[in-house]
Symmetry: C2
Subunit: 414 residues, 2 copies
């Protein structure tokens, strides 16, 4: 049961057929398959490393940056971590069959809203080859067939990884689209008869390209233009720790902060020290006039800066007049991902919680906690910034639909 | 605050602005607005009737069928019923703010998954003018702004109804797209920066047209090709009552049955009587060879019949070898709406419940119960046959998203 080189439609059709069997596969069978996948990843590590070496070589030839090459790199330790993650997913509770709601109608009908797999999930992702296994394991555990479409730069690694996983799963349950071009992408995104959901993990370019052509429902595991707002009543030491953490702890991820907003009443007390600490941590600062009046080394921010997800050690800094102004700024410029307020004032915390329109709204905590693992979901396939179906971490439950099971005794409608 | 004749983008932009205010509007304010709308519908009945008379006159001139003219017709009784429905919606619990899930993380962060409005909902619908008020009332109650796009045949009625509702709601909260053409539809369906969800209520033609162009996420309140399967162990009297109810009680709606499947072991005992009863109720019957061997008056069914939503007194009838065959038939030909088994056998009931992939799966009950009112949701904007976000009745809760509110004490990620 290796991954075959088949057309996108063939792969999706096989996935659709497999999804019928997966929907009622007992938890124990799914977990056993996951452990076999973990075993096979360890046993076949040399084969994975060999394929990965070919991708790395091609990457170096194509001039990939050191950061991208590092994202692409697999070594025995990383492979062991991927296998361990598969076992962690096996250990999670099965979401399928959970009764989400249930009630007896006045006429005696019993209604049970019961969680079911979605069916066939397509995942489109970029360089990191570990996503191949993470996404396949999450879909298998949640009773879904998966169609993977990785980037061409990781083609050899992904092919071996998908083939290892597919060999231990029901036939057709794990498919990999071979070509990495825009044509295959459009082909996949229009299989609305066969695919129930497509999850693109990538930047705004991928999002735009897919939005234009897709007929399959999409959930974007997309960019995060996240803010930290330091209120007039903030504990300024806490505020400095939070912005440093949100900006610098891992700047290349979607839940890192990109903009710092500060209430004007504490701008003078807070900014000089905080900006110095950020600069010491290697952060390039771009600020509005008010910020630059306090620190002339800050680069002037352009309109574009407020809308930019840097994914790097760059931070836009602005001063606002009130919590309401901060909320307005966040709702206008944010991408609805993760937004934080630092405050000691109950009213400001409450206004921010209620007023900010985002997947995750933090009070006195770093935006960096938006993560399926941190939230206790065990693992995630990405973070959704759209409002339908899944918002925030996309874990096992978010990969499911539901059905109403209605049990009667010959009931007919009057 | 009348409904202005503005561009689609202007209407959507006003709705987006209104949605910010609606999101935190107290329940009491929303309910008061709903009661004012109900009052105004009654007070302004003559004005509504006058506009409706113009639509009816145009409809007669354009040769609309008697059935379509009846769907278009408003009279004082129907207007009173629409007003009463608005008060019923006011009486429902507010879905906004409900905590769907909440937990404390090991690091002490408190996470509350809290229901929020979606934002801006667009509803595209056909002749029935009551939908204008039903949909507006459901969106107002759930804290959403709405952009309505009715059919041109109800243009005058819809304009007055929307204007009455808009006058009692926050500015911009209820908008009506004036033109009924495909161009306005495409314009509306591509406002992904301003509109969070579009709900098309209509047939396959509308679905295809929108799927091709839409960039706004869609939930189709679409067709239902529903089945009743009579198992070998069915109580045949119960089975006859259920298929008669599912087919004839209201044949023009999406939860009416379109196909009857019968296990071969009871075909001889069940079909002659059941088909006679259906025929007496005015149902045209189209059957497979097995059925026609029992009743020569049955018209031969074509391949197309198994995929057709008649929405009329026509029924396809087939004989199957087993419950597994019935499940396969339903999954192949059904539209994932409402599917029923009639059986006395536990194993068959369980196989059907687990194996059928549909919004609502019934055991020993008519498919006609799939309805927001019947399910106790109070009202609905339609029934979804897709698997993302909302499946089955789209009520107040299905018009909502959620956000994670995370409260900490200066938490940073290690």
């Amino acid at each position: 049961m290796a991954v075959s080189v088949a057309s996108v439609t063939d792969i999706c059709r096989a996935a659709r057929a497999a999804s019928r069997r997966l929907a009622t596969l007992p938890t124990a069978d799914k977990d056993a398959a996951l452990h076999r996948i973990a075993d096979a990843l360890l046993a076949r590590t040399p084969e994975i490393l060999e394929a990965n070496a070919r991708d790395l070589e091609a990457g170096r030839e194509n001039g990939l940056s050191a950061a991208l090459l590092d994202r692409l790199l697999l070594d025995p330790e990383r492979i062991a971590a991927i296998a361990a993650q598969v076992r962690d997913i096996a250990a999670l509770p099965d979401p399928v069959g959970e009764v989400l709601d249930g009630f007896r109608l006045p006429n005696g009908l019993d209604v049970a809203k019961t969680r079911t797999p979605l069916g066939v999930v397509a995942v489109v992702y970029e360089a990191r080859p570990n996503v191949t296994i993470d996404a396949a394991a999450l879909c298998l555990k949640s009773g879904n067939a998966i169609v993977l479409r990785g980037s061409s730069s990781a083609a050899h690694s992904n092919a071996v990884l998908a083939s290892i996983a597919a060999a231990e799963a029901p036939e057709g349950a794990i498919g990999l689209v071979a070509g990495g071009g825009r044509e295959e992408l459009a082909d996949l995104a229009t299989q609305d008869e066969l695919v129930d959901l497509i999850i693109p993990r990538g930047g705004e370019g991928l999002k735009k390209a897919l939005t234009a052509v897709a007929t399959v429902p999409m959930i974007f595991a997309a960019s995060g233009n996240c803010h930290v707002y330091v209120d007039a009543d903030a504990d300024l030491d806490v505020a400095r720790d939070i912005i440093l953490n949100a900006k610098t702890q891992r700047p290349g991820v979607c839940n890192a902060a990109e903009t710092l907003l500060v209430h004007r009443d504490v701008a003078g007390a807070f900014l000089p020290g905080a900006l110095a600490a950020l600069r010491d941590a290697g952060v390039e600062l771009r600020g509005d006039a008010h910020v630059r009046a306090l620190d002339r080394a800050v680069i002037p921010a352009t309109d574009e800066d407020w809308d930019t997800e840097y994914l790097a050690l760059v931070l836009a800094v602005g001063v606002v007049d009130s919590v309401e102004d901060a909320i307005d700024h966040v709702n206008r410029h944010g991408s609805g991902h993760s937004e934080a307020i630092v405050t000691g004032a109950y009213a400001a915390a409450r206004a921010f919680e209620l007023g900010v329109d985002a997947a995750c709204v933090y009070v006195n905590a770093s935006t960096r906690f938006t993560d399926g693992g941190e939230f206790g979901f065990g693992a995630e396939i990405g973070n959704s910034t759209q409002k339908l179906h899944a918002r925030g971490p996309i874990g096992l439950r978010e990969l499911c639909s539901f059905k109403y099971v209605v049990r009667g005794d010959g009931h007919v409608r009057a």
